[in-house]
Amino acid sequence: MPKLIKERVPTPERPVEERIKDFDEVNLGYTWELALKEAERCLQCPVEYAPCIKGCPVNINIPGFIKALRENKDNPRKAVKEALRVIWACNSLPAITGRVCPQEDQCEGACVVGKVGDPVNIGKLERFVADYARQHGIDDELLMEEIKNIKKNGKKVAVIGAGPAGLTCAAELAKMGYDVTIYEALHEPGGVLAYGIPEFRLPKEILRKELKKLSILGVKIKTDHIVGRTVTIPELLKEYDAIFIGTGAGTPKLLKIPGINLNGIYSANEFLTRINLMKAYKFPEYDTPIIVGKRVIVIGAGNTAMDAARSALRLGAEVIIAYRRGEEDMTARIEEVQHAKEEGVKFMFFVNPVEFIGDENGRVKAVKFEKMKPLEERDSRGKRKIIGTGEYVTVETDTVVIAIGQTPNRIIWKTTPGLKVRENGTIVVDENLMTSIPGVFAGGDAIRGEATVILAMGDGRKAAKAIHEYLSKKSA
């Protein structure tokens, strides 16, 4: 019988006092020794049964990559290379997913060790493999081996949007021999990874390195190209054999309440884009400005809200997260909620904003909330319903960040005749991720609404396979 070690090997983190002064990464990840120790905790459930594999949206062979580490104890290089090979079979961006996946709801949530103690720290092990490989050039080595097997097939595919969905789809297609061009609206590829998730969770250097892999695979990226304006889907269809739409859900939802356009009220997207993509926290070394006052109220409690709150804190503000439901209803990753608490973000639960109050110069000065209370009844997502109590509370502030969700951008479907979308703007696809236009596929947040990085990547992979089948059939 395998011996069960209940407690997980912790990953080192930077101390709070130090990390809240900068935007550098908080969690430092495992060393080889720590990773090996954590890997020893895995019970090596059989692949056909292992619940962690089922819990992973792209079904990485988790015990398999962990085994690769354990079996090559004396040769970390070999261990990591074999482990990475196993991971890459299902996931081309492990350095990213290891950092941002909500593992507690996925692989780790399912891990059997979790029933009696801490689940195996699968995310951090995945991250370790990717980081170690990158730092030692092992990923390049593996990539070169893969490139040798690529046979160009002369067919062209356009990918719209360089977020996790588009990047994954492009990489998979390139490996199958397609000539792939990505069209990206912004000046940097990455989607939410570039403009949304801050450096302290996902260093941009890692993203850039992942993107370099794409150019080695021969993928072209045309930035500054807004599909629908610079070029339309019907036009692309004349030039390309197939198209993948991975344009995400980038349009912020704003509250329809009085005062929404007062100065000092940002959408989380604007706030985070200024900080992450434009480096406004380095103003005036960087030209893009940002204004955070003494107190920032962030409305919402998802990953976006945590990122905005922790960013505001690093700019020197007192930060309050205001959420209309309760603590257990928060949708952000547990690790990030913990980090936010440690760093001093304050929380207000069961409050729903009803009005923003401005001063005589049009700057926000307070938020009026209605106090809410939970009911026993649950909604379709299993969350407790809430109702207003008729009691109000007003909190003074000079900056508000709204992080209540995102919807798909209007440009793409407004300019693509025949593309079927739902009322909320998400694109309708069949079981092969093909849209209402033959040869045009879609995935990621563009079809799901706001979801997760790994689901977007899973869609990108699935669509690449479907595109391959579609084009193979067509030419046969």
């Binding site: 500054d224 304006r229 610079t230 929404i260 356009n261 100065n263 997207n269 884009t273 200024r274 049009g362």
Partner: protein, 298 residues
């Protein structure tokens, strides 16, 4: 943009000249924009590695040769740095676009198209196209005397082009001087509306001046369209920095505009929002001026 080999392709400045005081003309190679742009649309430019993204308007283009012309007014740090440091033959990092909706190409009849300061540059492609499809277009440019631009171009393109140059009073502050522009603007518009019949008024310029002109036009009940200039970041509908209230609804100027019905715009809100960063903008400019001084450039 990245190519196959991971190399960036940038956008070459084919021509750069100062066409009037603080007005710089850039002819830029940007074939993806040139191929598609329509009157009323704009681009987002990022000129420097640490730079911000700013919206500017292509006023002329050649679809075959792949270039566009931008005219930028030297206002703050970014436009100043562009004017000071960019040379012909240089490449700039990003030109994204075209963005925004094209201006509606309809037969309105007799149109008065107004540009305050550099706003006249943005009026040019629209007025020209309106005239070409059979409208009778009068353009009006009100600005400081040394800032008159594009006069020859307008005279060729539209029925009548009126220039109202305002003298700069060196004794007075900049603020006072701009007030004189607003005065000249509203007086001239009033005169034109009193003496002739118009089917449409269109205006591009600072929101304060747009509001002042709208207050005049309103009295005559003539339809009025405006191109709005809120602060923008992405220009693709992703952030809402550019949001404006139009007819009681929140609109994003970069995807729903930039053109809107002047009668429906919440002018005071727009004016407040545009001024939000003014302190930081001043700081950035001052810091840049110090750098220039230290280098002995100025």
């Amino acid at each position: 943009m990245f190519t196959n080999s991971g190399v960036f392709i940038m956008y070459k400045i084919l021509e750069k000249k100062e066409i009037a005081m603080r007005n710089t003309w850039y002819k830029i190679y940007a074939p993806h924009v040139a191929k598609k742009v329509q009157p009323g649309q704009f681009v987002i430019v990022r000129a420097f590695p640490n730079g911000e993204r700013i919206p500017l308007t292509p006023i002329m283009w050649d679809r075959e040769e792949g270039w566009i012309v931008l005219v930028a007014f030297t206002k703050g740090k970014t436009t100043m740095k562009m004017a000071m440091e960019l040379k012909e033959g240089d490449e700039i990092l990003n030109v994204a676009g075209p963005l925004g909706n094209p201006a509606p190409m309809e037969k309105f009849g007799k149109i008065l198209a107004i540009g305050a300061y550099v706003g006249i540059a943005e009026v040019y492609p629209i007025a020209k196209a309106w005239q070409e499809i059979g409208n009778d277009v009068t353009t009006l440019h009100v600005t400081f005397e040394p800032m008159v631009i594009l006069k020859d171009y307008f005279e060729k393109a539209v029925s009548r082009h009126i220039v109202e140059p305002v003298k700069i009073d060196q004794e007075k502050s900049f603020q006072e001087n701009t007030k004189n522009v607003t005065k000249a603007l509203t007086a001239k518009v009033k005169e034109l509306l009193d003496n002739e019949n118009w089917d449409l008024v269109f205006m591009v310029g600072p929101p304060g001046d747009q509001k002042a002109v709208f207050e005049v036009v309103k009295k005559y009940g003539i339809p009025m369209k405006v191109d709005l200039h809120p602060i923008m970041v992405d220009g693709t509908g992703m952030c809402g920095a550019c949001r404006v209230t139009v007819g009681g609804e929140v609109k994003f100027a970069c995807v729903d505009g930039p053109e809107f019905d002047a009668y429906l715009v919440d002018w005071d809100e727009l004016i407040h929002r545009v001024g939000f960063y003014s302190k930081l903008e001043k700081l950035a400019l001052e810091k840049y001026m110090e750098e220039l001084k230290a280098k002995g450039v100025i």
